[in-house]
Each structure stands twice: as structure tokens, then as C-alpha cells.
Amino acid sequence: MPRAASHTAGWLVLAALLIALPHALSFSQQEVLVFLTINVLLVASYRLLTLTGEWSLGHVVIMGVGAYASALYSKQLGIYVPVSMILGALTAVLVAMVLSYPLFRMKGFYFLIGSFAAGEIIRLLWKRFRDPFGGPKGIKKIDPMPDFDIGIYSFDFFEPVSYYYFALAVVALSLWVMWRIERSPVGLTFHAVHWQDKLAQSAGVDVRAYRTRAFLIASGFAGLSGALLAHYIGTINPNSFDVELMVFVLTWAIVGGTATFYGPILGCVVLSILNEVVLRELGFEQMRPFIYGLLLICSVLFMPKGLESVVQYFMRRRPGNAVAKAQRTGGPAQYEAERGTET
């Protein structure tokens, strides 16, 4: 099958590029690359949430829960760092589960405000209780990842490059899982719940359970991204996960567009590169919130379908309508292709 082969070739090329990339960058740029990788996971997890139509304003706080949890497990309980990261992600899921009881009784605008309030409460708890959260100063000297050797490569986590490869592997795996979920009947049900929840309900879908499920999965991955962050920077505090970061995530998602899987990722990558290349080089780093605010406004006013609509426009002009269809809906063309391979 020529199409499948060219797809695989494409992925291999991308993988090779991603692996080679850090060597073309300066040290500080490599650091930025690590943050970018972590942010990609964060925004992709946010997208999963918006799949069911819920726009939460507390998402980055859940990332923080994963960060704080992993930091505390490794620091206070001496748990091996990779394990503490997983536990951190699970803690985020647990917190999300508790939050889902009050939050999912609210719809639309109320859910937005409610999720914002819940996030603020958690941040205030971090600020208020120096024991165990470290108060306003947060947690310092978080244990780094332990170095290890896999034969072809020796991970020395003093180097950003090593952490980048590690984070890249984790994020790639996570993205693959999220992609699989979206393409599965579960993902289809998420879409259904988003667009016509009454109709879905009448077909037997427990809408609230599905919304909660999306929320929990998204929170788990957000928590994982938080854990990755914590063990990279080494210190976290309540301001690491404040409204400003939430606005960045919102901006990436809205500028990129949330109709496709890659939309928010595209938004994140483009804006992060913009931030580095344009803002930092030209010394406009201070203006970052200003630029993001402006981008957000312009995006909502002039390009409400996001950057992904630009990509889709170009893709649709390529020959092979089936490709465009699959990109657009992902559903039946995919099923038809699968059916073809089965018979």
C-alpha cells in the first residue's frame, strides 16, 4: 500500500529530525526545546478536554498538582523519580476525580467559573500551607532524573539534551495514547457528547460519565507534564501554574484551532517559536503578554477556526479526496481503509 508506506516514511523522517534537532541549537535554545516538548503535552491534554465541549480554566493547576505531587513523593518519601512522576500523574487524576463531583453539576459558563474557582482554591492551599507545599516560595531542590545508560546513548540529566530526549519519548508515547483514544469508539462518543448531548443520551450514552472520563484522562496527562516540568527546573511555586500560563494554553488552543488533534499542538509550536525567534531576539520578551493578548483577540475576531484551518485548506487541494476526508472527519474513511485491509 503506497499510502501507508509514505506515512511511515514521513514519521521516520520526523523522528530523525526531532532527534537531530537539539544539536543544531544553542544551549539556551535547547532548554526552550525541553519546555516546548512539555507544553505540547499540556496543550494536547487540554484539547482532549475540549473534545467533550468543556473549557476548563483550572487545567494548569492540575498540571501543578502533578508537579507538586511528584516533587513531594521524590523529595519527602524518597521515591525513585520516574516512579514519582507516574504517581504524580495519578495524583492529578485523583484530584480531578474529587473535583468532578461538584464541577460536573455545572454546565457551560458556570463550569468555566467553577473550574477557575477550584483551581484558585488549590493554588491558595499551596500558598497558605508551607508544610508540605512550601508556601509562596514553593518547593526547591527537587530531585532530578537519575542518569542512566541504554547502550546507544548515555543519559546525563545535567544536559538539557538528555532531558529533551527523555521528555520527547514520554510525550510521544502520551500523544500516541491520546490519538488512539480519539480514533476509538470512545473518541467518537466524546464528539457525540460535545455536539448533541441529548441525542447521545437517548442512544444510551451516560453523558456525565463520559465528560468525567475525558476530564480524568486529560488531567492525568496534564499532571504528567507537570511532573516532567518539576524535575527539570528543580523548583516550583504557586505562581508557576497561574492564570498567565492558563492564558497561554488557551491562546495556543484557540490560535491553533481545536477541531483537529494537531491544532493546539500547531498553535503551541508556532507561538513558542514566535516567542523565541521574534520576541527574545528582538528584545521584546517583556511584551509577551501584550503580544499574546493581541493574538488572542485577533484570532477570535479574524481567524476563529484557527491555524489548522489554514493547514486544511492546503491539504484539501492535494489530489486524493480520501486523504482530505480522513483529515477532516477521521472517521469513516479510516474505517473504510481498515475494512479494505481486512478483506
Partner: protein
């Protein structure tokens, strides 16, 4: 003990005064235009900075600076209506997002214009009214309370006794019917936005000498405003005032006996409780959300 209670009540009254101005402004905008103005806290901040520039830096009369604050921020509100909310009238979520973008812009402008440090505005007078040994009220605070009462009364008169006021209330109740009556949506939106923003701005201007003015002061204001309007009921102006008083009482008391952070947590939890049990709030009317 009585004196402690009395003092706490006075503190709460002061806080309730400027919070009701902010909350009423937010409800007005939401009620008439159907959009949630996330930048409302920054409008408050803008009013404070007007006083910083005119009164603290240029030594212009405080009263005049406050008046300028009201008008200037009201005009900024008009700009927001024209540039952001009107094109996005059919897309309230988009309007909300745009207001978040505008919030970022205002904050960045404040940082660029004034720097991140906190400004201290010298109060107009150091006089204090002493009710007793332990119970006193600073004159500037009394001024805020009086100003709030005056402004809210004026607003009430405007809404109930003038043609424009009726138009606003009609739009809030039923925009389509109002449009059929010949009431222009654009005009009512403009009026609502000017007044709503102006109220936030004047609140910031009035309290500028009493709080630390910095580019991030809007954050706690908007959070409190949300709590107040949710508890009071999103469509209700009276609810906003009542809830502002109730919230300020609770918050001030908890701060006095515990601390400010715990008070914030209590306030937010209260809001969550209301959202769970009765989302339309204490005085909630049919909601536009």
C-alpha cells in the same frame, strides 16, 4: 470584643463599598450584553493608575482625578464594546476570550508604563473618625463608602427614572423585544459598557490611596467580583450589592480571626457551593448564560 466586631464591620463596609461598584458594573455588562468581561479587574486597575498619574505624580486634585478616572475608564469600556464585544455579539465565548486577551494587554501596558513595583498614593487626609478607643474609621475610607452610596443611588435613579435606564433594563430582560420596540442594541450596549467600566474605574480610583497599586491588582478584584455576582445571582443588580456586603462581612471576619488566604479559600468555596446548589444565586433571575 464588641469593639473588635464593630471595627471589623466598619472594615467590611468599606470593602463592600468598592466591591459593589465593581460587581454592579460587571452585572450590568453581563445583563445587557450577555458577555462576561474578564478584563473588569484591569479596568479597576486602570482607574487606580489614573489617580496615580494625576494625583500622586501631577498633584492634581484628588476629586478631579477620580472623576477623570471614571470617565477615562468608561471611554476605554466604550472602545472595548466597539472593537471586541460588538463584532463578537453572536459568540459570547469568543467575547470572553477576547476580554481575556484585552486583560493581558492592559496588564502589559501597565507594566511598561509604570513598572512592576507597587505605587503608593498618599491619602488625601490622614484624619480619622474615632468612635471609641479601638474603633475608628479613616476619612479616606469614609469617602469611599459615601461615594459608593452616591454612585449606586445615582445609578438606581438612572435605571428607574430615565428613558435610557428603561431601555437598558428592557434590553437586559428581553433583547429581541427591546429591539422590536426600536431600542437600539448598539446604543444600550454602549451605555451599559460605559457605565459598567466607569464603575470599575471609579472604584479603583477611589481606593488607590488605600491599597497598593500594581499591575496585577486586577486579579484579586476579578476573582472577588465573580464570587459576588455568582452568589448574588448573575442577572441581578440588587443581588450584587447584597452579596458584596455579605461577602465582605464574611471575608473581613475570617481575615481578622484567621488570615487573608483562608478568607479567600472560604470565599471561593462559598462560590462553588452556590454553583452546585443554586447556580442562579440568591437573587438569580432567568439566566442568559
Amino acid at each position: 470584643m464588641v469593639e473588635l466586631l464593630a471595627q471589623t464591620c466598619l472594615n467590611a463596609l468599606y470593602a463592600a463599598s468598592y466591591m459593589s461598584l465593581v460587581a454592579v458594573g460587571l452585572v450590568l455588562i453581563f445583563g445587557v450584553m450577555g458577555v462576561i468581561n474578564f478584563a473588569h479587574g484591569e479596568l479597576f486597575m486602570l482607574g487606580a493608575y489614573v489617580v496615580v498619574s494625576l494625583y500622586a505624580d501631577l498633584q492634581i486634585s484628588f476629586l478631579f482625578a477620580v472623576a477623570v478616572g471614571l470617565v477615562f475608564v468608561g471611554l476605554v469600556g466604550l472602545g472595548m464594546e466597539r472593537a471586541l464585544f460588538r463584532p463578537l455579539r453572536t459568540n459570547p465565548l469568543g467575547g470572553l476570550v477576547a476580554s481575556i486577551g484585552f486583560l493581558m494587554i492592559l496588564q502589559a501596558l501597565a507594566v511598561m508604563g509604570f513598572g512592576v513595583r507597587m505605587e503608593h498614593v498618599p491619602p488625601v487626609t490622614q484624619q480619622v473618625i474615632a468612635f471609641s478607643d479601638k474603633v475608628h474609621l479613616a476619612m479616606p475610607r469614609l469617602f469611599v463608602i459615601v461615594a459608593a452610596v452616591v454612585l449606586l443611588t445615582a445609578l438606581w435613579a438612572f435605571l428607574t427614572k430615565t428613558r435610557f435606564g428603561w431601555a437598558l433594563r428592557a434590553s437586559a430582560q428581553d433583547p429581541e423585544a427591546a429591539a422590536l420596540q426600536g431600542i437600539s442594541i448598539n446604543q444600550t450596549s454602549r451605555i451599559a459598557m460605559f457605565i459598567g467600566a466607569g464603575l470599575a474605574g471609579v472604584a479603583g480610583a477611589l481606593t488607590a490611596p488605600l491599597v497598593s497599586v500594581n499591575p496585577h491588582m486586577g486579579h484579586s478584584v476579578i476573582v472577588t467580583a465573580f464570587i459576588v455576582i455568582i452568589v448574588g445571582g448573575v442577572g441581578s443588580l440588587e443581588g450584587a450589592v447584597v452579596a458584596a456586603v455579605a461577602y465582605s462581612l464574611v471575608h473581613t471576619f475570617v481575615t481578622t480571626f484567621y488570615d487573608g488566604v483562608i478568607a479567600d479559600i472560604v470565599g471561593l468555596s462559598l462560590m462553588l457551593l452556590v454553583l452546585i446548589v443554586k447556580p442562579t444565586g440568591l437573587f438569580g433571575t432567568a439566566d442568559r448564560a
